[in-house]
Subunit: 420 residues, 2 copies
């Protein structure tokens, strides 16, 4: 059956490529009209969207999804309204397409301009979150890209309903409906075939856990941007303001523990460890601590479980925090180098030299001084929205807004210039 | 033996990662000193380099390499001097590391800066060109990256000798010798294992033909930038200045036919075809023409061989040119869309509207108006040097200078900022 799957996908891919050509030339006002219309239609069809979502939820009852996963799958009138607001927000953002990034004149009079253009077709693989269908399609549309959306089987009815609304909105704005396509094949083989639509998908953004990322790295032949794990550390330096450190760690760990920019591990300088940890422990009531021997001595082995080697590298995504005591900034940086995932690392310090060294030497998408790891986010950065957070170094690194959905081309203008 | 190969490579990779950490923090003056020293040492050891090269050439005699390939393999005193000049030129370029790309203040006072940093470890796979060993290592060094160089078996003695000189120069400048490492395993299995050094190679730049590119797309698990084929077209519009068009096509085809930015195919508007082609034919004396029926009628079937379907998509890299007659700009764009490789496409026109449409609608790294396709080149763009020409859309597109060997990281500076 694999050949049939691939043929279906190639058909979708071909339609996406054709739509992308039209979208690349679409005016900002047409794209914004489609976004506004999609927002109105989502709200207007809220009842039908929720009925479709109930189908997904009913099916999910028997399937062993966790309560948290069921909650992510659920649509409510408020959540439909949020989707619409999200699209209206994207419509208000500046259109990146057509921006001149750089331009110069060569000594022989040849003019060179580097201008921003859409990527073409953007593929998204994601899990049981119907909101991604609307959010990702909106960002793709605004940046002039066709979206090929491959959600999960659990959310298929909701995704179908949302995609139908978005397609209708494109049509109404005079844009190709194929600007937004949902891949109905949600099988594993289908996912692999999707990752191999080379020449059709210009950029794949997988949004999921380590198993999905590993499948992409192993199988994809299309270009991709990895939105990977965040094993985010806060290093509490010897010179840290202890109150500030407590507040930053508590915010990073507890404000929203299930997300990639949550703080997962703290590294504490020995000189401040007793003062800091005795203040931190009560502030993290309800958070399970696992730590090294020194941390356990300071807070008691009742409060701090013994960390295993595997704890240092784990992204808990839960109310759990690992605690490591070190003797120097060098040791802290070495620890983060060994266990960090290149997402977000923070230092709390009053020492200017330590702050500068930490920012220079720690190799991560975001390196923060005296701020919570939770700021690594497109909204918090002021991008208005985000398609994901890149933990890779090529193309985009850190929160990805509309710019990450574009590439550039060089335009040369001559008067018959030839090369000597 | 595969496991042993991988272990050896992992050892090299680990040393490259360690060297990259030091290089990322190296001062511009230390890097420039290493480049200057390498240039001096290359010239000082010119005789030894040429002796090593003679070993390669001797071995190559029996191996069936073409005269052109043998020529690319050969080192002469002049060519060694060129390598040294190249390194001195790279030393004079601005250091991209540490540049602030963007910076802004959030409403809550959080400061965000996006700064340019090295990629880390750059892997290069290349063919029988010893000059790449020096050129690529120089660009990596200047941009603060460790270079892992995997040349061909045919050039191994030359590459060893050049790499030894570069390593010595790093040492003399107080930089780690492992900033430049040559991979001695030049087997196919070794190449595949090299492409899978995930977590060690931050960016792979394969420089070779379609077979190498296909192997990378199929096997690589490390991030890569494709330096692909150039099936570059010149479209001669009905409004073209015929003399200008002849000069641009002749330059694109004959100035250096074996390179990726050479013109491989021309698309000619019917209204200007007779006048243009009768002027072009004598200017392309010695160039084999293949064309469609209309072109053959205009120039005679002696002068123009019948094009087969496969001709339209071919990168000849030779004194051969395909000729297609079309009835409109739309037809020309459709032809280029179908057969182009996204490298460089040019139009010759006097019509402003045609020029604008061509530049907007043709999807390629470089789209030129009234200029030769040969300008797609780092030197010609004013980048000073190039590591390759990207035909992909992610990370870098078109000629890649030092900037393409960097990524960015975000630095956040707060005063105890937490997210609400």
């Amino acid at each position: 059956m694999l050949a049939a799957v691939r043929w279906d996908l190639a058909e979708l891919g071909g339609r996406a490529v054709a739509a992308a050509r039209e979208l690349a030339l679409a005016s900002t006002s047409a794209k914004d009209a489609a976004l506004a219309s999609a927002a109105d239609l989502l709200e207007g069809h809220s009842d039908e969207l929720i009925s479709s979502n109930v189908e997904d939820l009913d099916r999910a009852q028997g399937s062993g999804l966790t309560p948290a996963a069921l909650d992510r799958l659920r649509l409510t009138p408020e959540r439909v309204h949020d989707l619409a607001s999200g699209l209206r927000g994207v419509a208000r953002l500046a259109d990146p397409v057509g921006q001149t990034v750089a331009g110069w004149l060569r000594p022989d009079g040849l003019e060179i301009r580097q201008v921003r253009v859409p990527l073409g077709v953007v593929g998204i693989i994601y899990e049981n979150r119907p909101n991604v269908t609307s959010d990702a399609a909106g960002l793709c549309l605004k940046s002039g890209n066709a979206a090929l959306l491959r959600g999960s089987s659990a959310a298929i009815s909701s995704n179908r309903a949302i995609a139908a609304v978005l397609r209708e909105a494109c049509r109404k704005a005079g844009l190709p409906a194929d600007a937004v396509q949902l891949v109905e094949d949600t099988s594993r083989e289908g996912a692999v075939a999707f990752m191999r639509l080379r020449g059709m998908i210009d950029c794949l953004v997988p949004r999921g856990g380590p198993a999905l990322i590993a499948a992409v790295v192993d199988n994809a032949t299309v270009p991709y941007v990895i939105d990977g794990d965040g094993n985010c550390h806060v290093y509490v330096d010897r010179s840290a303001d202890v109150d500030m450190a407590v507040s930053i760690v508590a915010n990073g760990k507890t404000q929203r523990p299930g997300v990639c920019n949550a703080t997962e591990s703290i590294v504490v300088h020995r000189d401040v460890a007793a003062r800091f940890l005795t203040r931190l422990a009560p502030a993290l009531d309800g958070v399970e601590l696992v730590g090294d021997e020194e941390a356990r001595k300071l807070l008691g082995s009742d409060r701090v479980a013994a960390a295993e080697e595997s704890d240092w590298g784990r992204e808990y995504l839960d109310l759990r925090l690992s605690v490591r005591i070190v003797g120097s900034l060098d040791e802290a940086i070495a620890h983060i180098r060994l266990y960090g995932t290149g997402h977000t690392e923070a230092i709390v310090t009053g020492d200017r030299a330590a702050a500068r060294r930490f920012q220079r030497e720690v190799d991560a998408a975001v390196v923060a001084v005296n701020a919570s790891t939770r700021f690594t986010d497109g909204e918090q950065f002021g991008f208005g929205a985000e398609i994901g957070i890149s933990t890779q170094k090529l193309h985009a690194r850190g929160p990805m807004g509309l710019l990450a959905l574009t590439t550039t081309k060089y335009l040369l203008d001559g008067d018959g210039h030839t090369r000597q």
